[in-house]
Symmetry: C2
Subunit: 373 residues, 2 copies
């Protein structure tokens, strides 16, 4: 199955000349000890970027006088253990919230516009506050979290949703496919990224009722040229690089991400254990060191740190909470690429071209049955 002529409605969007990113400097396990050095390194490599550093006055003291940086103070910090409730209702002047609020459009001050926000704060709180402060885009019921996983062809597979939505309808999965397409076309420059629906077999008759109906919806969207839908894919296809984007509900996405992290971490430990088992192994480790380091660099998850929260009226990127400065810098770079290539406009355009036409106009077998029942 293939969609011969998927349309990219944002093909002629010009990139931004200047990108301003708000950084929640207090988020993550390490806070400013990691985020500030990361911001410095990022600025050095991105001359067309400016940062809005958000944090407590004492935490930001070290950044006083940094060029291309504006400091914005907040009195509170959302911790990694704070509940959504606390982040949302109690800590109204948190660095996370102030950073997110800076994304809200302020037409009079367009020259000060902030184009993206990056935080390593806890995911549940970040999503909830972002949703509250920014609201979702028209045509999007629920925002989704998208990240990339490396595949064996040397590139990355974008997977969404990763845990924002545990119970998804077929329509949600279509929205994820459209938003994922916008993300990949913005960040990787792929004009018509291919989309697969995660399932337990390649045949269209496989899977739950929700998945089968999602398959119908995605196929219709593919046939209409709104996405480049390639059909069902299976778990192993993520690492084969079969498609650019893999769409699944947040429960499955979260399980597959954590399972992958757990397996990779166990295998890395096993390798380390075997190479430190006695003097001969240690000698082998010494000789093999450059090879092992190349391997390690190749699968280093810090390289692709930075998950996108898609579907909001503002670009939000989430760094891993345990990120070090190198990893956090990658999250900043991902946010920069997305903002520079106008991801928000792309999502907006694609949603406009796809969802309204698609969801409202195309009668689906599943829906028809439901109505008849």
């Amino acid at each position: 199955m293939s969609s011969p002529a998927a349309v990219n409605p944002s093909a002629d969007l010009a990139p931004l000349q200047l990108v301003r990113i708000a950084v929640d400097c207090m988020g993550g396990d390490h806070g400013p000890a990691v985020t500030l050095p990361a911001c410095q390194a990022f600025l050095a490599k991105h001359p067309q970027a400016e940062l809005v550093l958000v944090g407590t006055p004492s935490a930001l003291a070290a950044a006083t006088g940094w060029s291309r940086c504006e400091l914005r103070f907040a009195t509170e910090v959302v911790t990694m253990d704070d509940t959504v409730e606390v982040a949302l209702r109690k800590k109204r002047d948190s660095s996370m919230r102030v950073a997110l609020a800076s994304l809200k459009p302020a037409p009079e001050q367009a020259s000060n516009a902030v184009h993206a926000c990056v935080s390593a704060g806890n995911t549940g709180a970040l999503m909830a506050v972002a949703r509250y402060v920014l609201k979702t885009l028209d045509g999007i019921d629920r925002p989704a979290i998208a990240t990339v996983l490396p595949h064996r062809l040397g590139g990355f597979t974008t997977v969404l949703d990763l845990g924002a939505n545990v119970d998804c309808t077929p329509e949600h999965l279509l929205q994820f496919a459209v938003m994922g397409s916008a993300l990949v076309s913005a960040v990787d420059g792929t004009p018509q990224p291919s989309v697969g629906l995660l399932n337990i077999g390649e045949e269209a008759i496989k899977g739950s009722e929700t998945i089968k109906r999602a398959g119908e919806l995605l196929r219709a969207a593919g046939d209409a040229g709104h996405i480049n839908f390639q059909g069902n894919v299976e778990g192993n296809d993520i690492f084969k690089g079969t498609v650019d984007i893999v769409v699944c509900d947040g429960f499955v996405g979260n399980v597959l991400l954590k399972t992958s992290e757990g397996l990779a971490s166990m295998l890395a430990d096993f390798i380390k254990q075997e190479f430190t088992r006695g003097p001969l192994s240690l000698l082998a480790a010494l000789v093999a060191r450059p090879v092992l380091q190349r391997f390690k660099a190749r699968v280093d998850p810090r390289r692709y740190n930075g998950a996108a929260l898609l579907g909001l009226r503002g670009l939000v990127f989430k760094s891993h909470g345990s990120a070090d400065a190198f990893a956090f810098e990658q999250a900043l770079a991902r946010a920069y690429d997305a903002a520079r290539n106008r991801l928000l406009d792309r999502v907006h355009d694609r949603i406009g071209h796809t969802l309204q036409a698609q969801l409202l106009a195309v009668p689906l077998a599943g829906q028809a049955q439901e109505k008849a029942a």
Copy 2:
């Protein structure tokens, strides 16, 4: 959370002195070229085992006169591409079906009883034919597929379901927990194996409605001493060895298994590529060879080949279709251990002690709400 005194109703079951296993010699990618050598190797290591070799006369000719082997002929073969429909309705004299049918109790011929069946045939066909020929146990709505994955503590985590059931109710998940407990206590000798419910967070409030209600059911079963329930676990816990058994629906289980296979295979290829990148790497590979081989052996999936189809009136084990003789022999050994330790009786006993008491007597918040609504 812990279940202080889980009861094992089969604690005093005596092991079988003689185990007879029916082998579908035609199944899998390689058929008798793999299954027959595997059977020979298995018999050499298991003096208390007998085999019933099922296949076409020409395929079994090589096994004529083997000791402790009975040959049983079938005229048809279910291929790896055959649909469930074909396996079930057209090929009524397939080796798969004849092997499965040999499990049906025949009281007059008790001395010829077959205790387990092993096939490397296609999973969908095997499950469908097994269900048709054997039927499910009382108290079991749907059979489940269980396999083991290695964890970092050196043991294995049993995961079920792996794809037999895409839409599961909370009651199905409880049945999986009970059957998984019987499996682990039979094969590993763990009297009270611990059970975790796969979720996207450890807190009881996480997850879909189905998962939350399954959590209530499992907790009630744990409190009543029917299983040793440890609460929610996440994807990475599978490889941490947090619990002996991880319960999930077949969609999630299938995705996590295939994702894990895909990731492990990619990482293995990356290691190989790095160790063959130029002459210095090749030298390193030579020096590191024993270490790498130890690593490879440690994570070799052939070692734990053999998934159990649980909930049927007969013990059925499924080998990976691509298994070689070593891997197929492991599947035979797993079936042997399970049959010898009377897995079928254990499942039956546990279901009797747990499910009827549990499901019929304990009112659940979720169900009460539904009724009220």
